[in-house]
C-alpha cells in the first residue's frame, strides 16, 4: 500500500515528465510545422556574420518552404543585396525588378536596382531608373 507521500511523488514525477515531453514536442513541432522560420533565422545569422553564400541558400529555402509576406519580400530584398555584394548582378537585378512589380515606384528598390545596373555597366538603364526616382523620366522623349 502506497503512502500519501509516495503517491504525491509519483504525481510530481508525472507532472515533470509531462512538462519535459510538452517542451520537447513543442520544439519538435515548431521545427516540423514552421521550417520556413528556421531557415529564415539561419539565413539572418549567416547574413550577420557576412557569410552571404550560406545566407542566400537559407533564404531561398525559407521562401521554398512557404515564408509569407512581408517577410518573404524582406528576404528577397536581402538576397538581392547579397547577390550584388557577391557580384551576381544579373540575378540581383531580376529580384529587384520582381519586387518592383509588387511594390511599384518604391524609391529604395529603384535606387538599389539603378546601382546594380551601374555596377553591371548597364549605364543607359541605370540613367532611366535614376530619372524615374527623380520624376524626370519621360518615356517618349528620353531618346
Amino acid at each position: 500500500m502506497q503512502t500519501n507521500q509516495q503517491i504525491k511523488q509519483k504525481q510530481y514525477l508525472c507532472f515533470i515528465v509531462l512538462l519535459v515531453l510538452s517542451c520537447y514536442f513543442s520544439i519538435t513541432a515548431y521545427h516540423v510545422f514552421h521550417r520556413e522560420w528556421i531557415f529564415y533565422r539561419k539565413g539572418q545569422d549567416a547574413f550577420l556574420i557576412k557569410d552571404f553564400s550560406e545566407a542566400i541558400v537559407f533564404y531561398q529555402q525559407a521562401i521554398a518552404q512557404g515564408l509569407k509576406k512581408p517577410y518573404s519580400s524582406k528576404v528577397r530584398y536581402q538576397t538581392a543585396e547579397m547577390l550584388s555584394y557577391t557580384k551576381q548582378y544579373e540575378e540581383a537585378c531580376l529580384i529587384y525588378k520582381e519586387l518592383l512589380e509588387e511594390y511599384p515606384n518604391n524609391r529604395v528598390l529603384q535606387f538599389a536596382l539603378a546601382r546594380v545596373l551601374t555596377w553591371n555597366n548597364q549605364f543607359e538603364e541605370a540613367v532611366i531608373e535614376y530619372k524615374k526616382i527623380l520624376g524626370e523620366y519621360h518615356e517618349n522623349h528620353y531618346h
Partner: protein, 222 residues
C-alpha cells in the same frame, strides 16, 4: 490498480495542461508575433513595406545620375546634374571634385580649375590634385603643374602614369635631361612598355643623343 476519481481528474488536468503548453509554446515562438510586437514598439506601419523604411533623398539619386552620365560621356548632362546637386548641397566637396573632373573631360579646363579653387586645398585628395595639374598642363601653365606632380610623386613614387605626365611636360619645356631622368625611372618599373620606350627615344633624339635613341628604338622593334 484501481483508478480513483482524484487520480483520473489529476491525469486529465495534467494532460490538458500539457497540450495547452505545446500549443502555447508554438504560439509564442512564432516570429511573426515577436516581430509584430517589435514593430509596435517601434511604431512602424506593418501594412506598408516594413523592410524598406530607408528614405532615398532626391540629392542622392541626382548625384548617382550625374556620375553615370559622366561614365556615358554625356558630360553636358552630367555637369547640369552636378550643378543642380550643388545648388541643393553646396558643401559636398566630393561632388565638386567630380564635377571639376567632368568639366575637364568636357574640355572646360578654366571652369574646372575655378571649381577646384573653390575647394580648400587640405580637402582635396591626391587624385583631384592630379586633375588640377592636368588642367594646368592643358592650359600650358607648366609652372603651376610641376610642383603638383612632384609633390604627388613624392607620396606615390610607383605611379608610372603620373611620372609619365611629368616627363612629357618637361620634354615640352625642352628640359630634356630632367625628362630623360623621369623616363628612366619609369622604364625601371615598366621595362616592357613599348610606347613609353619610344617616347623616351624621341626625347633622346631631341637631346641630341642619337646613338642612345637608336638603341632604345631597336628594343621596341624586337
Amino acid at each position: 490498480m484501481r483508478i480513483t476519481t482524484t487520480r483520473f481528474v489529476f491525469s486529465l488536468v495534467t494532460g490538458f495542461f500539457g497540450l495547452m503548453l505545446i500549443l502555447f509554446s508554438d504560439y509564442i515562438n512564432s516570429p511573426s508575433i515577436i516581430e509584430a510586437q517589435e514593430n509596435l514598439a517601434q511604431n512602424q506601419n506593418q501594412n506598408q513595406y516594413p523592410f524598406l523604411n530607408e528614405e532615398i533623398p532626391d540629392w542622392k539619386a541626382r548625384w548617382e545620375l550625374a556620375k553615370v552620365l559622366s561614365y556615358l560621356k554625356r558630360y553636358k548632362e552630367s555637369i547640369f546634374e552636378y550643378e543642380k546637386l550643388l545648388k541643393e548641397k553646396p558643401d559636398l566637396i566630393e561632388a565638386k571634385c567630380e564635377m571639376a573632373n567632368v568639366l575637364f573631360w568636357n574640355g572646360e579646363q578654366d571652369k574646372a580649375i575655378a571649381v577646384f579653387r573653390q575647394i580648400p586645398e587640405e580637402k582635396l585628395d591626391d587624385k583631384s590634385k592630379l586633375f588640377i595639374a592636368d588642367a594646368y598642363v592643358a592650359q600650358k601653365n607648366y609652372d603651376k603643374a610641376e610642383p603638383i606632380y612632384r609633390s604627388y610623386l613624392e607620396k606615390h613614387p610607383e605611379d608610372a602614369k603620373a611620372r609619365l605626365k611629368l616627363a612629357e611636360m618637361l620634354s615640352w619645356q625642352k628640359r630634356y635631361d630632367e625628362s630623360i631622368a623621369q623616363y628612366e625611372m619609369i622604364l625601371k618599373t615598366v621595362p616592357n612598355d613599348i610606347q613609353i620606350r619610344r617616347k623616351y627615344a624621341f626625347v633622346l633624339i631631341w637631346a641630341d643623343k642619337q646613338t642612345q635613341a637608336a638603341e632604345e628604338l631597336k628594343k621596341t622593334l624586337k
